[in-house]
Symmetry: C2
Subunit: 301 residues, 2 copies
C-alpha cells in the first residue's frame, strides 16, 4: 500500500504590491521548487500587497516558503512601506491549510516548524495564530497585528505580546510575521432581488456566528451597484462543520421575512471540492456516500 | 505554460473471474506500468468475469492495455469458459473514457489505435463500438456481442459483421473484442418510500430516454427487499448533457402522482467530480462558476 500523498495549501501575504521585480523574486521559489505548485498570485497597488496561493507536499512547501520569506526579508523595507491594507511585516501572514491526507494537527506542526526556521534564519519575530495559537488571545490575526509595523516595537515590550519564536524585538526592516494553520476559507455570497442594503445587513446578522447564526460563518451586507441589488457576503471558515447549503438555506429563509428572493450566489476564488460535493450529497439525499467514490480523488495521490 | 496532463480511464472486461493466478497476471501491467493507476478490480465467480478500472495518460494507458490484452489472450480459453454474463472474447470489451484534458475525439483515436495494435499483435478481430463505431448499428455493444463466442464465427461471415480490425475470423481461443470510447457512466439510484415495484417501474418509464424521458438516462425499477422499498435505478450515460439533478427532480415529480416520497439516493461505484459539482452549482444557484475554481482541479495537472 503506497503512502498517501499529502497536500497542504499556503497563502502567504507579502507587503509589496507595486515593484514587479521584487514581487517576481519573492514568488520565484514557488515556481522553481520541486513538489510545489503556484496556483495564484494577486497583487494590489493600493494595498501595496501580494497574496500568493501555493500547494505542495509538506516538506517541499516548507522549503519554498522559507526561501520566499528570505527573499521578502531581503527585499522589502517596511520603514518605506505604505498601503491601505494593515500590515506588521514584510511577510505579513503565512497561513497553512490542510487539503488532502493532512490533519489539522500536522498543519499546526508544519506552521511551528516554519516559524522556528524563519525566525532563526532571518532573525524575525513570529507570532503563531489561528489553530497554531498558543493562547486564545492570539488566535485572531487582527488582534496580533493591531498597532501595525509602526506600533509593534512597543507592543512587543508587553509580556502578553512576546513573540512565540525569534527575538523579542521587531526586525528593523521586516517587522514581524504571523504564521499559523487554519481551515480553507470559502468566500460565498448570496444575491437578493432587492437594492436595499439594510435587508442584506439584517439577514447577515441572522446568519453569522457573532450575532447568533452559524458557528463557522462570517457575513456582511454588500451592495452590487452595477446590478442594483445587494448580497449577503459570507466567509465560511470551516465548511466541514458549517456547510455552504446551511448558510444558503438560512439566507433564503430569512429573506422571506422581507418578501425578498434569492436570485443566485457566487463563489469567489478557490473552493475545495468537498465543500461543493457536500452540497450535492445533501440536495440529492445520497446515502452512504464516500469521498473515495469521486474518481478524481484517486488522481492526486 | 506547461502542457496540461491528459487523463483517460479504461474499464476493460476480461472473461475470467475464478482463477486467481490468471486474473493477477492480467492485472499485473496495470500495477507495474509507469503512468497508469489501478483504481479497482472486481471479479465475479458466477459471471466468471473480471472488470478492471484503471486511469492514466493516453500513451501509458495504451501500453498497459495492450500488455494486459496479450496476457488475457495467452491465458484465457473461451472454448472452456462458462459464466452467466454474455461474452464474445477473452477480452470482452475495452471502453476508454475521457476524464481530464481529453476530448471525445482523442479518446476515439486512442481506441482505434489500441484496436489496431491488439488486432495485429494477437491476431484478434476487433469491433469498434459506442463513439468509435464506424456505423450506427455497431454503437450498441449488445448488438455486436449477440450470438456470443459460440456464434461469432458464423456471424462474422456476414458482410455487415466483418470486424473493423484484424482477421475476418474469430481467434480460436480468445474470440473477438469490442473496443470503443464512451462518456463516463454514473450509476444513480433514487429510493422511494414504497414497496410497490410497479410504481418504480412506471416512474422509470417516465424518466428514461427510450420511453420518452431524458436523453442520457436509462432506468428500471428495482426492489430493495431488505429495506422493503423500491428504487428507480438509473444509468446516466452522459452527465454533461443530462444532469443528475434533472433525473432526481423528475423522479421526485413523478412520485407525487402516487403519493410517494423520495427517501434518498445512492451512487454506485465511481463518479466524476464534475457530475456532483454540477448539482451543487444548480441547487445553490452559483453564477459564473468555473471548474478552475475547484482547488483540486489544479492538483491533477
Amino acid at each position: 500500500m503506497p503512502v498517501k500523498k499529502q497536500i497542504i495549501e499556503c497563502v502567504p501575504n507579502f507587503s509589496e504590491g507595486r515593484d514587479r521585480e521584487t514581487m517576481e523574486s519573492i514568488v520565484e521559489p514557488f515556481r522553481a521548487f520541486e513538489g510545489v505548485k503556484l496556483l495564484d498570485c494577486q497583487s494590489d497597488k493600493d494595498h501595496n500587497r501580494m497574496v500568493v496561493t501555493v500547494v505542495g507536499d509538506p516538506e517541499s512547501l516548507k522549503k519554498a516558503v522559507v526561501a520566499a520569506v528570505g527573499k521578502a526579508v531581503e527585499l522589502i523595507d517596511l520603514r518605506k512601506h505604505e498601503g491601505q491594507h494593515p500590515r506588521m511585516g514584510a511577510v505579513d501572514v503565512i497561513p497553512f491549510i490542510p487539503i488532502k491526507n493532512v490533519s489539522m494537527k500536522e498543519a499546526v506542526e508544519l506552521s511551528r516548524d516554519v516559524a522556528a526556521r524563519v525566525s532563526e534564519a532571518f532573525d524575525l519575530p513570529v507570532f503563531l495564530y489561528e489553530e497554531s495559537a498558543a493562547t486564545p488571545h492570539r488566535r485572531n490575526l487582527a488582534a496580533i497585528r493591531k498597532g501595525q509595523f509602526e506600533g509593534m516595537a512597543e507592543k512587543m515590550t508587553q509580556p502578553e505580546w512576546l513573540p512565540d519564536f525569534g527575538p523579542a524585538a521587531i526586525h528593523p526592516s521586516a517587522g514581524a510575521t504571523a504564521i499559523g494553520a487554519r481551515m480553507p476559507l470559502v468566500a460565498f455570497n448570496v444575491n437578493l432581488d432587492t437594492g436595499n442594503l439594510e435587508i442584506a445587513d439584517s439577514i447577515a446578522r441572522k446568519v453569522r456566528f457573532i450575532t447568533g447564526g452559524l458557528r463557522y460563518c462570517k457575513a456582511i451586507g454588500v451592495e452590487l451597484k452595477d446590478r442594483g441589488i445587494v448580497q449577503v457576503s459570507m466567509n465560511m471558515t470551516d465548511f466541514t462543520k458549517t456547510a455552504l447549503y446551511q448558510s444558503f438555506e438560512l439566507v433564503t429563509m430569512e429573506a422571506r421575512r422581507y418578501g425578498v428572493n434569492v436570485v443566485g450566489s457566487e463563489i469567489i476564488g478557490l473552493v475545495p471540492m468537498a465543500a461543493l460535493i457536500d452540497c450535492a450529497v445533501y440536495y440529492l439525499g445520497i446515502e452512504n456516500f464516500s469521498p473515495e467514490q469521486v474518481l478524481e480523488s484517486h488522481l492526486m495521490e
